[in-house]
C-alpha cells in the first residue's frame, strides 16, 4: 500500500468519524436545551449499542447488511451512476437465493456457494436492468431503480402471501425456514451475531481490491466524464452495465446475508429502509471501502443505541431521528464543501 492510498483510506475514516461526532455534539446540545438529561441519555445510547455482548452483537448484526449494501451503492456512485435501487436488488437477491435453498435438495457444501451465487445474480439482474436501460436508451437510473424498487417490494409481498408462503405459518406473510444446515452459524453464543459478519469483511476487502484494479479505474474514469472515458478507449456502455451488475449484485449479497444469517426466511418488507441508509453510509464513508465499513458500524450503533435510548429514557424517537438527520446533513454539507473549495 503506497503512501497516497493509505492517506485516502485514513482521510475517509477520519471524516466519517468527525461527521458523526459533530452530529452527536449537536444532538447533545439539543437534548439539553429541550430539558432532558443529556448525559444520561447518551450513556444509555452508548450502552444500548455497546454495553453488553448482546447489545454489541445487535449493532454488528445491523452493520452487516448495511455495509454490504453501501459498498454496492458506492461502486455505482463512484461512476456517477445514481443507483438508489438497493432495496429492490436486496429483495430479489434474497428471494432468489431463498427459493433455491427451499426447493432443491443439495448438500450444504454445494448449496452454500450456489445460494451466494444466486443472491448476487438476483441483485445483478435487478441492477443490471436499470444499467441496460441506461446504457441502451440513456434512461435515467434514478427513476428506473426507484421504479424497480416498487416492483420488487410488491413482488415480495405477493411471494410471502402466495407461492412461497409458509403453509404452517398461521397465515403470517412469511416463507418457511431454510434447513438448519444452511443457516449461518452463530459467532457469539446466546446472541444473534452470525458468521455473515466474516463474509461481510471479506466483501469489504474484495471491494477494496476492486477499487485498485483495472476495472475500478474504468469505473472511476466513467465517473469523471463519459467524454474522457471514451477518449481513453473505454467502452462506456459496457462499463456502465457492468457497474450496475456489480452494484446490484452486492445489494443482493446483503439480502443473502440477512436471509441466511438472521431471519432464515423471507419476511414481508425484509429490506426496511436499508436502501436509503446505505446511501448515507456510502457517502459518509467517502465511497471508500474502509470508510464505509467504519461508517456502517457508527451508523448502526446510532440506530441500535438510539432505539435503546428512546425506550429507556423516555426521549421521543423523533429526537433520535433528528440526530440521525443531523449526521446526514453533515455528510451532505461536507460533500458540498469539498466540491466548493476546489
Amino acid at each position: 500500500m503506497t503512501e497516497a492510498t493509505a492517506k485516502s483510506a485514513f482521510n475517509s475514516v477520519i471524516s466519517a468519524v468527525t461527521a458523526v461526532f459533530t452530529a452527536l455534539i449537536f444532538g447533545f446540545v439539543l437534548l439539553w436545551v429541550c430539558g432532558y438529561d443529556a448525559v444520561k441519555a447518551y450513556t444509555t445510547m452508548f450502552n444500548g449499542a455497546f454495553g453488553s455482548a448482546n447489545r454489541f452483537a445487535e449493532t454488528i448484526v445491523k452493520t452487516i447488511p448495511l455495509t454490504v449494501m453501501a459498498l454496492g451503492t458506492a461502486i455505482a456512485f463512484k461512476s456517477k451512476i445514481w443507483n438508489i435501487g438497493g432495496n429492490g436488488q436486496f429483495i430479489v437477491g434474497g428471494a432468489l437465493s431463498l427459493y433455491v435453498a427451499l426447493n432443491f435438495k443439495l448438500p450444504a457444501l454445494i448449496m452454500f456457494p450456489l445460494s451466494i451465487f444466486m443472491a448476487f445474480a438476483g441483485g445483478a439482474l435487478w441492477g443490471g436492468l436499470a444499467g441496460y436501460l441506461k446504457a441502451k436508451y440513456n434512461a435515467n437510473e434514478v427513476i428506473t431503480t426507484l421504479m424497480l424498487n416498487y416492483i420488487a417490494s410488491f413482488l415480495l409481498a405477493w411471494l410471502v402471501r402466495g407461492p412461497m408462503m409458509d403453509p404452517a405459518g398461521f397465515g403470517f406473510p412469511q416463507t418457511p425456514l431454510i434447513d438448519k444446515s444452511l443457516q449461518l452459524s452463530s459467532l457469539l453464543a446466546g446472541t444473534r451475531l452470525h458468521s455473515g459478519f466474516i463474509i461481510a469483511v471479506i466483501i469489504v476487502i474484495l471491494c477494496w481490491i476492486l477499487s485498485r484494479s483495472i476495472f475500478g479505474f474504468r469505473m472511476e474514469l466513467i465517473g469523471e466524464s463519459h467524454e474522457v472515458a471514451a477518449y481513453s478507449g473505454i467502452n462506456v456502455k459496457k462499463t456502465t452495465l457492468m457497474t450496475m451488475l456489480i452494484s446490484g449484485g452486492l445489494a443482493g449479497l446483503a439480502g443473502w446475508n440477512e436471509v441466511f444469517g438472521l431471519h432464515h426466511r423471507l419476511l414481508d418488507d425484509v429490506a426496511g429502509n436499508y436502501g436509503s441508509m446505505a446511501i448515507v453510509i456510502a457517502l459518509l464513508g467517502g465511497l471508500h471501502p474502509l470508510g464505509i465499513f467504519v461508517s456502517g458500524l457508527l451508523f448502526s450503533a446510532l440506530l441500535v443505541g438510539g432505539g435503546t435510548m428512546q425506550r429507556m429514557s423516555g426521549i421521543p424517537l423523533s429526537l433520535v431521528d433528528i440526530i440521525q438527520g443531523t449526521v446526514i446533513i453533515f455528510v451532505i454539507s461536507r460533500a458540498a464543501l469539498t466540491l466548493k473549495s476546489k
Binding site: 503506497t2 497516497a4 492510498t5 481490491i209 485498485r212 484494479s213 483495472i214 476495472f215 475500478g216 479505474f217 472511476e220 474514469l221 469523471e224 466524464s225 467524454e227 474522457v228 471514451a230 477518449y231 481513453s232 478507449g233 473505454i234 467502452n235 476546489k342
Partner: protein, 515 residues
C-alpha cells in the same frame, strides 16, 4: 491620474502554503491602456487575474481600482466595479444556448421572464461590430472550441465593462480573427477602457499593448512600457536567460514505393454536433514520416475530422484505414491499439480527468497494459515512476505526481497530455492545437517533439489556428473550408496562397491534390 487598477504586494499560496503561486507581486494598469501579461506556464498570470476578479482571495496585499482601495471577495464585487473577465478555461454552461448564458444573472426587462429575444439581437449586433462570428441560438456543447471562445468574449462584452481581463483569448483564434479582435480592443481603448491581455505570443504584445508585465515563478520580473523594450529582453525576463530558437527540420523525402501510407481516408463524410454536414467527401493520405498541416478558420470541420480519425465520432460514409487496416466503424480502443495518438483540442472536456491526479492522468490510455498492472491490479509503484519520468522530461510544474490536474496551470495540463500521447512511439498522431496555451519554451519543445516523432516514422495530422506553426512544421498543407479540403499544397507555399484558400478560393492545380 489614478491607475485603473493598482495591485500591491499580492501574495497567494495554495495547498496550505505548499505552492507559492504569487509572491509579493505589484501590478498597475493605466487607464485607457492595453496591458500585456507574460510569463512561463505556471508563472502565476491566471492566479493574479483571478485575485483581481475575486475568484481567489489573496493571502496578503491590497487592490485599488480607480485610485480607491477596494475589497473584492467574489466575482460579483468585481463586476460591480466594472471588471469583466474572459477565462482561460471556458465558463459557459454547456447545456444552454449562448444567448441564455449571456442573460444568466442579469436583470431582465421582462422579469420574471428572460428576455432572450433582445439579448439575441444585441449579441448579433455586437458580433457584427467586433467581427466575432457567433450563433446566439446554438447550444454551447454543439460549438467548436473556437466558437466557444468567441461566445465567451462576446458574452463578457455584452455586460459592458470598464476593465476587461482576457486570459489567453487568442489561443484558438485564427490570425484574421485575431486582427479583428485587436481592432475591437483598440476601439475600447479609444473609449477610455482598460484591457489586460494575457498571452504567450510576443508579437501580440508589440502589436497592441502599451505596457507589459512579466511574471516569473510567482514574482514580478519586470514591468515596462512596450515602446522601451524588445522581444529579446521580454523573453529573457520570462525565462531568466537568453533563449535561442533553432527548430531543426530535416527535409522530407517522399517514399518511392508508396507503401508507407500510415493513414488513408476515402470518401469520408460525417456530421457535426448540430447534425449538419461537417465533413464532405474527404480524400487524403499521410505517409510515414510526414506531417500534413491542416489550416483553416476554426469550425470548418477540423475538430470533427480529428474525432473521426480517432473513433470518437461516427462517420456517415467512407473509409478510414490505419497502417493498411480498415478502421471504419471501430471503437476508439481499436485506434489506440493501432498506435493512433490523439492530442484533443479541448483538454478539459476530453483530454484529461480533472479530478484525478497527475500520475493517473498519464496512464488513462495505458492502465490496462502489463506495465501497469499485475493480475488485474494496478501497480502504483510503476504508475508513480512513469509520472516522475514524465514530470522531469516535460518539466511539468506540479507539487507532485499525486496533485490533482485541476490544480495545475493551463500550460502544464497540456504538457501532461503531450507526455502521454507522444511518450510511446505512436504510428499516427492526430494533433489538434497541440501548442495551445504553452509558453514559448514549451511550444518550441513540443514542435521539436513532433518533428522527432515524424523523423521516427510517425504520420502526423496537425491542425492549428497558428498559420506560422503549420508553415514551420508541415510537409504538405491542406486547407479546410466547409468540410472540404480546398486542395493540398506543398509545405513551401506562401502565406497569401493559404490565406486565400482559407477564404474558400481553391487555386491549386489539380495535380497538387493528393487524392
Amino acid at each position: 491620474m489614478a491607475y485603473a487598477v493598482e495591485m500591491s504586494n499580492i501574495c497567494k499560496s495554495f495547498n496550505k502554503g505548499k505552492v507559492q503561486a504569487l509572491d509579493g507581486v505589484n501590478f498597475t494598469l493605466g487607464r485607457a491602456k492595453i496591458h500585456g501579461i507574460l510569463g512561463e506556464n505556471g508563472a502565476g498570470k491566471t492566479t493574479l487575474m483571478n485575485v483581481l476578479f475575486g475568484l481567489y482571495r489573496a493571502d496578503s496585499g491590497t487592490i485599488c481600482v480607480n485610485g480607491k482601495p477596494v475589497e473584492i471577495h467574489r466575482p460579483k464585487d468585481a463586476r460591480a466595479l466594472g471588471i469583466g473577465m474572459v477565462h482561460q478555461h471556458f465558463m459557459l454552461v454547456r447545456t444552454m444556448t449562448v444567448a441564455e448564458n449571456v442573460v444568466l444573472g442579469l436583470p431582465s426587462s421582462k422579469a420574471p421572464f428572460l428576455d432572450i429575444k433582445s439579448a439575441t439581437s444585441k449579441l448579433l449586433e455586437l458580433s457584427n461590430v467586433f467581427g466575432l462570428k457567433i450563433d446566439p441560438g446554438a447550444k454551447v456543447w454543439q460549438l467548436s472550441v473556437g466558437e466557444q471562445q468567441r461566445a465567451e468574449i462576446v458574452s463578457v462584452l455584452y455586460r459592458g465593462v470598464d476593465i476587461l481581463i482576457l486570459d489567453e483569448p487568442t489561443a484558438v483564434l485564427t490570425p484574421a480573427e485575431t486582427r479583428d479582435f485587436f481592432k475591437m480592443l483598440g476601439k475600447m481603448k479609444a473609449e477610455g477602457k482598460s484591457v489586460v491581455l494575457i498571452t504567450h505570443k510576443l508579437e501580440e504584445i508589440f502589436d497592441i499593448a502599451d505596457e507589459a508585465t512579466v511574471l516569473r515563478n510567482g514574482k514580478l520580473a519586470c514591468s515596462t512600457e512596450v515602446s522601451n523594450t524588445s522581444k529579446q529582453e521580454l523573453t529573457r525576463m520570462m525565462v531568466g536567460k537568453d533563449v535561442l530558437f533553432n527548430l531543426k527540420k530535416s527535409s522530407y523525402e517522399k517514399n518511392a514505393l508508396d507503401s508507407n501510407e500510415r493513414l488513408k481516408v476515402k470518401n469520408l463524410s460525417a456530421l457535426n454536433n448540430k447534425g449538419l454536414s461537417a465533413l464532405d467527401n474527404l480524400n487524403f493520405s499521410i505517409e510515414a514520416g510526414e506531417i500534413l498541416g491542416v489550416a483553416g478558420v476554426d469550425g470548418n470541420g477540423q475538430s470533427e475530422l480529428c474525432e473521426v480519425l480517432t473513433g470518437l465520432r461516427r462517420i456517415e460514409s467512407g473509409d478510414i484505414s490505419v497502417n493498411g487496416t480498415s478502421c471504419t466503424g471501430r471503437e476508439p480502443k481499436a485506434f489506440i491499439d493501432l498506435g493512433v495518438a490523439h492530442i484533443p483540442e479541448d483538454r478539459h472536456m476530453t483530454g484529461m480527468a480533472m479530478n484525478m491526479d497527475v500520475s493517473r492522468n498519464l496512464i488513462i490510455k495505458d492502465f490496462d497494459r502489463k506495465e501497469y498492472s499485475f493480475l488485474g491490479i494496478l501497480k502504483s509503484g510503476a504508475i508513480e515512476r512513469n509520472a516522475d519520468r514524465a514530470i522531469a522530461e516535460y518539466e511539468i510544474k506540479t507539487s507532485g505526481a499525486e496533485a490533482r490536474v485541476r490544480e495545475l496551470s493551463g500550460g502544464n495540463q497540456q504538457k501532461i497530455i503531450l507526455a502521454r500521447e507522444l511518450g510511446k512511439n505512436p504510428k499516427v498522431i492526430i494533433a489538434n492545437q497541440p501548442t495551445r496555451g504553452l509558453d514559448i519554451g514549451a511550444t518550441e519543445y513540443v514542435r521539436q517533439k513532433l518533428l522527432e516523432a515524424r523523423d521516427n516514422g510517425a504520420a502526423i495530422l496537425l491542425v492549428s489556428a497558428d498559420l506560422e506553426e503549420i508553415m514551420q512544421l508541415s510537409d504538405r498543407i491542406a486547407v479546410m473550408y466547409r468540410g472540404r479540403m480546398t486542395g493540398i499544397v506543398p509545405g513551401a507555399s506562401t502565406m497569401e496562397e493559404i490565406g486565400l484558400m482559407m477564404a474558400g478560393y481553391d487555386n491549386t492545380k489539380p495535380e497538387a491534390c493528393n487524392a
